[in-house]
Symmetry: C3
Subunit: 329 residues, 3 copies
Amino acid sequence: MKHFTTVHDVHDVHALVAEAIALKQNPFAHRDAGLNKTLGLFFMNPSLRTRLSTQKAAQLLGMNVLAMNMDKDGWALELEDGAVMNGSKVEHIREAAAVLGQYCDIIGLRSFPELHDRATDYSEHTFVKFLHHCKTPVLSLESATLHPLQSLADLITIQSHAVKPKPKVVLTWAPHVKALPQAVANSFAEWILAAEMDLTIAHPPGMELCADYTAGATITHNQDEALADADFVYVKNWSSSNDYGKTYDDASWMLTPGKLHNAPDAKIMHCLPVRRDVELSAALLDSNRSLVTEQAANRVFAAMAVLKRMLEGLPQTQNAMQHETVNAL
Amino acid sequence: MKHFTTVHDVHDVHALVAEAIALKQNPFAHRDAGLNKTLGLFFMNPSLRTRLSTQKAAQLLGMNVLAMNMDKDGWALELEDGAVMNGSKVEHIREAAAVLGQYCDIIGLRSFPELHDRATDYSEHTFVKFLHHCKTPVLSLESATLHPLQSLADLITIQSHAVKPKPKVVLTWAPHVKALPQAVANSFAEWILAAEMDLTIAHPPGMELCADYTAGATITHNQDEALADADFVYVKNWSSSNDYGKTYDDASWMLTPGKLHNAPDAKIMHCLPVRRDVELSAALLDSNRSLVTEQAANRVFAAMAVLKRMLEGLPQTQNAMQHETVNAL
Amino acid sequence: MKHFTTVHDVHDVHALVAEAIALKQNPFAHRDAGLNKTLGLFFMNPSLRTRLSTQKAAQLLGMNVLAMNMDKDGWALELEDGAVMNGSKVEHIREAAAVLGQYCDIIGLRSFPELHDRATDYSEHTFVKFLHHCKTPVLSLESATLHPLQSLADLITIQSHAVKPKPKVVLTWAPHVKALPQAVANSFAEWILAAEMDLTIAHPPGMELCADYTAGATITHNQDEALADADFVYVKNWSSSNDYGKTYDDASWMLTPGKLHNAPDAKIMHCLPVRRDVELSAALLDSNRSLVTEQAANRVFAAMAVLKRMLEGLPQTQNAMQHETVNAL
């Protein structure tokens, strides 16, 4: 694997999940896999789980880690080619990405959407430019439209609890107080469908996800119908992808125990952070139906499996420090 | 040792001090003690000495470290059970603590008091909830009411300089420009008394410390009397624990060389940072009576001794990565 | 080498450049050079390249790293001796430096000038005090007047591309939107002249650099004349060192391809971050004349060579943890 930005970078989803589960059972067996390799983690937006789990995964593989909060450290990047840089942006993404590529063997990047202009966000404007200019394998720590490390962890969690070969998985829209990206939902759909599970997506009218990610899923506005016989219920808010970035205000979509009357064995999932009693009732989060902590724990093994594959994909002779020819006199 | 949040977590204070002093003499002898173990350092408030010394201690023990500024990174935690999370708090301490517990074998937590409501702060509201939900050994990096790593470092420093078996130790209140917690003072009293030293506490009327920590100490409002024949003088400001959080304005309590006329050999201590010529005169800080730098240096060995004990206390088969049963299909 | 704050700390510049180039060819050969040694990186100002490259260099040498943003973490230091600390500064540089010196074997420090008072900045007020009180070898990560790690990386880059023994190197002033320090320019001049290369400095009237650093260079206000037959053109803005901190507004000094008509083989250099089409035309940055990415990559080997020399210069028996005598009772 060279880059990891979508499920399409993965040759065999089931094999990757199996490798992650094996790593969970034996996390210290590959301490030399990343020897002398450097992982850069660059955050244009806040991160807790992703930062810690990816850093831990890299440590378990013996990699060196360089981390930087591009947002907090006020290193505002210019993204537009041709810009005359006489404003507040101190560096162009061309130079920043090229330099970071020189310091790292693999680069993890987080860059959220702005939720203003759909075309810009869905072109993965920032990610694509960064990836082009850094000339180094890139690991998505969540892009404008996708969050593949989260989805892989979700799939590991489902596989670990599924009691039938093709479980019924339901992704149900949830209320929220803020406009959130569609990335987690898009990505979850993409991965569950790639794993050939039975996916139903329930959301209010107008909150359709981008069809590129949902082909093959059953889509409904009837939450009650969707939840019937569910094995796994994934709760997630997203803002509109049509009336781009708009939120929807309907508290009746909050998941409660009562709504699961036809799904007595359904496990509850959420990527966290979760707004208790807004998205999802506290009673469900605190019940033994909830897999949310385990999902977060599985982020480590998702990142480990992906980093291990990316390390294996590095050219044998690659040495991030020798991109440039040295012509010593 | 499982948790380390107060002197009561320590079976034998003298043995712990002796171990820290042995580690100082031979700091590189235990580089494998923390192999494959992860220490998380989570700061809800700023930190310089505690952050650096604890991180260094972990590195000397071969641990991996994950550090995060919860405050700076704007990850505002909801603490109240039952809260409907429709405000500015993005995550509940229940989920945050549970997830961090999954990533770490030992968690260091710093959480200052708010100094608004004594009952809340003295219940160690945040610490207790975090400790309960993370299900992982917790190391205090300073809580609302105590700072045991500082106190252990102070005790190491005193032991290293004491020329009699039971030195006279004086804790004297100092002026300051801000309202500070009582944690360092409470904790110092608790540890000095646990070590069975002779402790005198001098403070202005109204600035009593909580009696839970001071039973056995001589307490006086007469600074001059307190300082007579002192072997060690610990200078520290704290805000009122009765008229909770109120400050007291009396520059005459600043420690100066002249006040030590009856304590010619007294060593001067302070946990730092110190306000020069406000809490303590610059002349004393710059004299060879001052132990403040050595106290700060001893923070490394205090943290090492505690972490080593906590590592020894981990279940032999414990593996933070395997809290969840893996039911791979 | 004990400290590294200027070219004068280097016995033989050519030997240091040669060592850096050898390290670039074989970066993993000295993984034990820094075993059990701790590098502290303390930033009073923002940093991207310097932070990442120095951290990477330390990792390649097997050192432990403790990093802290003094500016971001709001740890405002009092610099003035004799100050009564009743204001907003929480700690004096005397205590802060002394404590950091206890935690580290080598300390990297970044401290920019304020550009208000020339005498203060050029006395290296902050750096000198820090160095005095920390009692530990200090590595400059850019001081008020000099940036020697950048200059060493620049020299490595020039040596790697030079096709004649004494190349013509031109430092040309560039327009900018902000008032920048003179440090990179001062330091570049100092190092190029120490390496006995042919240096021409071109700048508008009034933008003279401090003569202490430029003795031996050809200095001109005629950019066109300066650029003729150049082998390397270093583009850099600086504010006035006479009318201290004043900027100069003349877009005609921006370097463009057309200006290089008499220097067909000239390579273009810049320390980054660069304002595209303000300091330097995008066309030049995107051409194969540009060495800017390679300069940034060479920062790792500059830092490695310097750290390796500083590690070799540490007393054999030195142990940062044992500065204080332990008198265990």
